[in-house]
């Protein structure tokens, strides 16, 4: 017959057990507190680690450029609304006359629209040659392509008819050295793609 030894520790073992549980709980709470503090510090590691070499985050840009980036993202919503209303992409002049920032006059940029196939680009060249150039690239789906099921996010927007748009915002440091033309591969021409947050690594990026 098998004999099983049962040990009872009594009060000492119970208090020891309690102490261990308290220590472990403290360590876990400490871990959570440290993690939260660390994340809240806002400067967590190298922002480049989740990005491709030609991509960057808006928060790493100078303040004035961050402002322009956010204005451009806001202006994009009105551009999309016009596209839905008119069934074509609005000209920069029309956007300027409608006072849509940053296309409105007096922002220090001259905007031009370029099209190639299903891709349209709004290119903003600075009046000050030392300021960066900006480009908003919008890609519509190819005809007869299967529906894109990516959820709406910074890179994927949907028109009211369900058309999925791919959105890219680009910046060129030397705005005065950029030619006014359609740029099929911006990353190969010294352009940097700007994000608010790192893109989702699972969803498809840059189809062109």
């Amino acid at each position: 017959m098998a004999v099983q030894e049962v040990r009872t520790g009594g009060q000492g073992a119970a208090s020891s057990e309690r102490a261990r549980v308290i220590v472990l709980a403290s360590l876990v709470i400490g871990a959570i507190a440290l993690y939260v503090t660390y994340r809240a510090s806002g400067d967590v590691g190298n922002s480049q680690k989740d990005l491709l070499p030609f991509q960057t985050l808006a928060r790493t840009l100078p303040e004035s450029e961050q402002t322009l980036f956010h204005t451009l993202r806001q202006g994009l919503l009105q551009v999309e609304a016009e596209r839905a209303r008119l069934s074509r992409w609005p000209e920069p002049a029309a956007l300027a006359s409608a006072e849509v920032a940053p296309f409105a006059a007096g922002n220090g940029y001259t905007w031009q629209l370029f099209r190639q196939g299903v891709v349209v680009s709004y290119l903003g060249l600075p009046a000050d040659a030392a300021a960066p150039a900006w480009m908003l690239t919008i890609q519509e789906p190819e005809p007869n392509s299967p529906p894109d099921r990516s959820p709406n996010d910074e890179e994927h927007h949907r028109l009211p008819d369900g058309t999925t748009l791919h959105i890219y915002v680009w910046r060129h440091q030397f705005g005065g050295r950029v030619s006014a033309a359609f740029i099929p591969q911006p990353q190969a021409d010294g352009w940097t793609q700007v994000y608010s947050v790192p893109p989702n690594p699972v969803l498809p990026t840059r189809p062109s």
Binding site: G12, R20, V23, L24, L27, V28, G30, A31, L34, Y38, S41, D43, V44, G45, N46, S47, Q48, L52, P53, F54, T60, P62, D128, A129, A130, A131, P132, H172, Q173, F174, G176, R177, V178, Q187, A188, D189, G190, T192
Partner: protein, 431 residues
């Protein structure tokens, strides 16, 4: 009442007394020094050929002069005119380069007491090699107006980040060099002690949570059942070695090249492999603190080099920066070890968790990961044109010799007590 594991440790390690542990540590540390010494020649061929933007910020009477030397790669996105030989045009580049200079001034955002400095006067010229450019920004400056800060950043070229070395030469005091390799940093050139403590606490936390090597070591320490005393001794030895080596590297201003760093990382990762093997083959080994010390020394040397690289950010409060950095790391490591040990203690209380197989599996994972790190570092050496196979052979033979010496030393130092080989059944019992 001492736990079974504690009793076991005491019974199995009769010679684990401070003097002998010290001797063991000295033997292993000596072997490690010899090992590193045998690879020292590698650093002599360190081909640090990466392009670097060199910037000097010099405070002078009434003005602040920023001189920037841009390598050709940092100018590639500027689409500057070139000649038939592919080099920059010898003439007519002043105006385009001035635009580049104004762009640099815009992103540098030099401030004094939070007030942006007025736009600088710009001088620009093509370098004598016609590959690089020299740009000088001259700002009106009065040192009495407050502390200076700048937004230091890397440069980009075709999607590649180019490192920036910024030399700061104040009106009085020692010159400092900032090595900028990642994100931009708003740098206070004369920071207060509180700024330094805050900044180096963040750097310490990032280092602690960003690297996986210490977690692997902690897994090696906690996987076999070990008494709290044994674990504490090992962690203290590791922390001691780390503190000594990092302090020594910092005091010496040690800033190794990429290949020396890769060599160091190979030795570090190989120590983890040995620790994992030891956890399986001899979980109650008396050499655990010695191995912890060795790892601490190597890891500490790397951390010291890392601190040296960022020491300029501490300004005049160098000591405060180092103490904060080292303290955060050591406290964090102790906390991680305690957390993992407590969790393991609870897990092993569940009777269906077999310690032998758990240790074996964890050791396999740790050794596999560590070997990958050895392989990655070796690849970096190979890419730099250094035959890594010879180094790997040296490391392997070094460890074989160390283990052999440890065995001989153990036999010679053993006095009384049971000399039998530990078995897994002996290791059972509560943590």
């Amino acid at each position: 009442m001492a736990s079974a594991a504690e009793n076991y440790d005491e019974a199995m390690t009769p010679s684990l007394r401070p003097g002998r542990s010290r001797r063991a540590s000295v033997v292993l540390a000596g072997l490690l020094a010899a090992l590193l010494g045998s690879t020292a020649h590698l650093s002599a061929h360190d081909p640090n050929a990466e392009p670097v933007v060199d910037m000097t910020i010099r405070a002078a009477a009434g003005q602040l002069v920023v001189s920037v030397t841009l390598p050709g790669s940092a100018l590639s996105d500027a689409n500057l005119p070139t000649e038939n030989d592919g080099l920059l045009a010898a003439q007519g580049l002043e105006q385009p380069l001035e635009v580049v200079g104004r762009g640099i001034a815009n992103t540098l955002e030099l401030r004094q007491a939070d007030v942006l400095l007025p736009p600088p006067a710009i001088r620009a010229a093509v370098g004598p090699d016609r590959l690089s450019a020299l740009i000088t920004l001259v700002y009106p400056f009065n040192a009495a107006n407050g502390s200076l800060s700048g937004r230091l950043h890397t440069f980009r070229s075709g999607g590649t980040l180019i490192r920036t070395l910024v030399h700061y030469e104040p009106l009085s005091g020692a010159a400092r060099t900032f090595d900028i390799t990642g994100d931009y940093e708003r740098v206070l050139f004369e920071p207060q002690a509180s700024d330094v403590v805050k900044q180096f606490a963040t750097r310490g936390t990032t280092t602690l949570l960003g690297g996986s090597l210490y977690f692997l070591v902690a897994l090696c320490l906690i996987a076999p059942l070990r008494s709290a005393r044994t674990l504490t001794t090992a962690v203290v030895a590791l922390a001691g070695g780390q503190l000594i080596a990092s302090a020594a590297a910092t005091l010496a201003g040690w800033s190794p090249g990429a290949t020396t760093l890769a060599t160091l990382q190979i030795v570090e990762a190989s120590t983890v492999v040995v620790l994992a093997a030891q956890g399986v083959l001899s979980p109650r080994s008396r050499w655990l603190p010695a191995l912890g010390l060795v790892f601490g020394l190597v890891f500490g040397a790397e951390l010291g080099a890392q601190f040296t690289q960022t020491a300029a950010f501490a300004g005049a409060h160098h000591a405060a920066g180092f103490v904060t950095f080292a303290l955060i790391l050591i406290l964090g490591e102790a906390w991680i070890a305690a957390l993992m040990a407590s969790a393991t203690g609870l897990i092993y209380r569940w009777p269906r968790v077999p310690e032998r197989w758990t240790t074996l599996m964890l050791a396999a994972i740790v050794a596999h990961t560590a070997l990958h790190r050895v392989s990655d570092s070796s690849q970096r050496l190979t890419d730099a044109g250094i035959p890594a196979d010879r180094l790997l052979m040296t490391v392997t033979l070094g460890w074989a010799a160390a283990i052999l010496c440890a065995g001989i030393a153990g036999s010679l130092l053993r006095t009384t007590g049971p000399a039998n080989t530990p078995t897994w059944s002996d290791a059972s019992g509560s943590f």
